[in-house]
């Protein structure tokens, strides 16, 4: 069953009240659409051009208000839903994940368990182009890497598209916007940009689901997703835990256990 047939079936049966999917927009780009009526379902698409992680809408009030939501998702989207469940931002019954395989067939993943099982069997590699740039960055000296990011971040205009597009950036009020007290300078000068992106990278350490939406959203083309890819990989290497692997995940960087093997924590 393809995305249109599945959406029609789900809406007709009343299993969900809305389906988040993609349709073709300006210049052929794929953009999100929220369908609420079975008769509107014919024009959905799901192909390699559908890159956006629709899980990001699962925490948005106007979308939540539509009712139970089905979402057509790539692996990173499923991962995001699980991570959102682990962080208690959504609950299993709120959403219905629709995994779409490369030939367009849809599999319903109705439970967190089904989503976990699906992910365990699905390859979700870092895109080759990103991996190549990450490897290049790893080979740089610290000074070269600093120069690379300084040059890239000098383009930042602080439109916050990276934050707004991130499925894991769901805070109602972001620390970046806090002005009593003001933790981070809002202007997009050198310090303001650097502090913002450092905070974002650290805040997503071990939480990034590697969808790459932040980098794609950046209007000036900064490969900003590589920072969170990197911090996610570091947490995975240190703690053996990947973001969104399960709906019951203790966040590695904020979990305290009396029986922790490290002595410093006691």
């Amino acid at each position: 069953m393809d995305v249109n047939e599945k959406a029609k079936q789900l809406l007709e049966a009343g299993t969900v009240q809305a389906v988040a999917g993609f349709q073709t927009g300006t210049r052929g780009v794929r953009r999100p659409v929220f369908l609420r009526r079975a008769e509107d379902t014919g024009r959905m698409v799901f192909d390699p051009g559908c890159r956006q992680n629709l899980a990001q809408y699962a925490t948005r009030t106007p979308v939540k208000r539509l009712g139970r939501l089905a979402l057509t998702l790539r692996p990173s989207g499923i991962r995001a839903l699980l991570q959102l469940m682990a962080e208690r931002q959504i609950q299993e019954p709120d959403v219905l994940a629709l995994a779409v395989d490369p030939d367009g067939q849809v599999t319903e993943l109705a439970t967190a368990e089904a989503m976990e099982a699906h992910l365990a069997l699905t390859a979700d590699p870092i895109p080759a182009e990103d991996q190549a740039l990450m490897d290049r960055l790893d080979r740089m000296t610290r000074a070269e890497r600093w120069a690379f990011w300084r040059n890239e971040l000098s383009r930042c205009i602080k439109c916050y598209a990276c934050r707004s597009s991130c499925p894991m950036c769901y805070c109602g009020q972001c620390t970046m916007d806090c002005n009593r007290p003001q933790w981070v300078p809002p202007p997009s000068h050198g310090l303001g940009n650097l502090e913002y992106h450092m905070v974002r990278a650290m805040h997503l350490a071990g939480r990034c689901v590697r969808c790459g939406d932040c980098g794609r959203a950046c209007p000036v083309g900064i490969p900003i997703h590589l920072l969170t890819f990197h911090t996610e990989a570091a947490v995975q290497a240190q703690f053996g835990q990947r973001a969104g692997a399960s709906a019951k995940l203790d966040y590695a960087l904020s979990t305290f256990r009396p029986d922790d093997q490290e002595t410093f924590i006691r």
Partner: protein
């Protein structure tokens, strides 16, 4: 037309050299690091080929993303204020599109509405625009629906239109004539059979703007805005790439010894933009903020300044991570029953 000339394609080298010899910085579209953006250039070879539009607009040349408005030093019992050095380098914007050139008029409407903005005006006074007519357009473009066009001259000092062997050059203002006077030998009379209109992109009119402007007040409570904004992420990409979006924030940065006051770009799409100190937010939803964006450009601007706050460049549409297509949304509003 008396002000119509032709320039050979090779004459741009000499024109750039003459501008630089006159002490002017030339900003033009470049492909630096694979990004389409305005940068200082030395020669025409530095200018990006086939750049339809840069991502960011040319407004940064007169309204930078961050600028210092004042500085101060604190000493016991006294405050020393200091005006920052106004950096208004003589600048020529080369190769921007007619829509962006028109954008300066919309910026001017706000920056000189009541108080005359010294920072903006200092840069505008030192700016000349050599724009380039459009020979192609895309689905995001709608200049012809908002009073512009692929060869519109408003806001340009010289407008170049590409021809087979060079450019038609319209010299449109005193500033344009001053540039012409730097290298008059490059400007030869245009051939009698030169028809600019034949060289331009075709941009069909998408909607009836005066009718839309007249209709908007009645659409304030329409469900349209919530429907359109459902996918909106609430970032500021549209506002920051926009050649006419003028909203800014004032920030203080300082310590016990002194500090500075900065002006930075701000965006009506941000949830904090209208947040009051009381905690009340008159635009509490993205739908209200999206509606404001449309109304500011198509209802409030005409009402207050007698001009539109949109030039139809389509930059917002191209920059939007979720393809909030302004042309399409305005067309929907034009067709909406309620």
């Amino acid at each position: 037309m008396a002000n119509l000339y032709q320039l050979s394609s090779t004459s741009l080298d000499a024109l750039f050299a003459a501008l630089r010899a006159d002490g002017r910085r030339i900003l033009a579209p470049t492909d630096r690091d694979g990004h389409s953006e305005l940068n200082p250039v030395q020669t025409p070879a530095d200018v990006a080929r086939d750049c339809m539009q840069t991502t960011l607009s040319a407004k940064g040349a007169v309204f930078p993303k961050v600028e210092q408005l004042l500085g101060y030093r604190l000493a016991p019992g006294q405050v020393q204020l200091a005006d920052p050095e106004r950096r208004a380098e003589p600048t020529v914007l080369f190769g921007i599109r007619p829509c962006e050139a028109a954008g300066f008029q919309a910026l001017d409407a706000v920056f000189n509405w009541d108080t005359r903005d010294a920072f903006f005006n200092a840069r505008m006074a030192n700016l000349a625009v050599i724009a380039m007519s459009c020979t192609r357009s895309d689905e995001a473009c709608f200049c012809t629906s908002v009073g512009g066009g692929p060869g519109a001259t408003g806001g340009s000092d010289i407008l170049l239109t590409p021809t087979a062997g060079g450019y038609l050059a319209e010299v449109l203002s005193d500033r344009g004539r001053a540039i012409q006077a730097l290298a008059p030998e490059l400007f030869s009379p245009a051939p009698a059979d030169a028809h600019k209109a034949d060289l331009l992109a075709q941009v069909p009119v998408a909607f009836d703007q005066p009718a839309l402007t007249a209709k908007l007040p009645a659409l304030f409570d329409s469900p349209l805005w919530e429907e359109q904004s459902l996918r909106c992420l609430g970032c500021g990409a549209c506002a920051f790439v926009c050649p006419t979006c003028v909203c800014f924030d004032i920030q203080e940065e300082g310590d016990k010894q002194g500090g500075r006051r900065l002006r930075t770009w701000d965006a009506c799409g941000f949830s904090q933009f209208t947040l009051h100190a009381s905690g009340h937010n008159p635009r509490p939803t993205q739908a209200a903020r999206w509606r404001q964006r449309v109304y500011h450009k198509f209802s409030i601007y005409p009402d207050r300044y007698g001009q539109l706050g949109c030039v139809g460049c389509g930059k917002c549409t191209r920059a939007c991570p979720v393809d909030m297509n302004l042309r399409e949304h305005l067309l929907q509003a034009s067709q909406a029953q309620r």
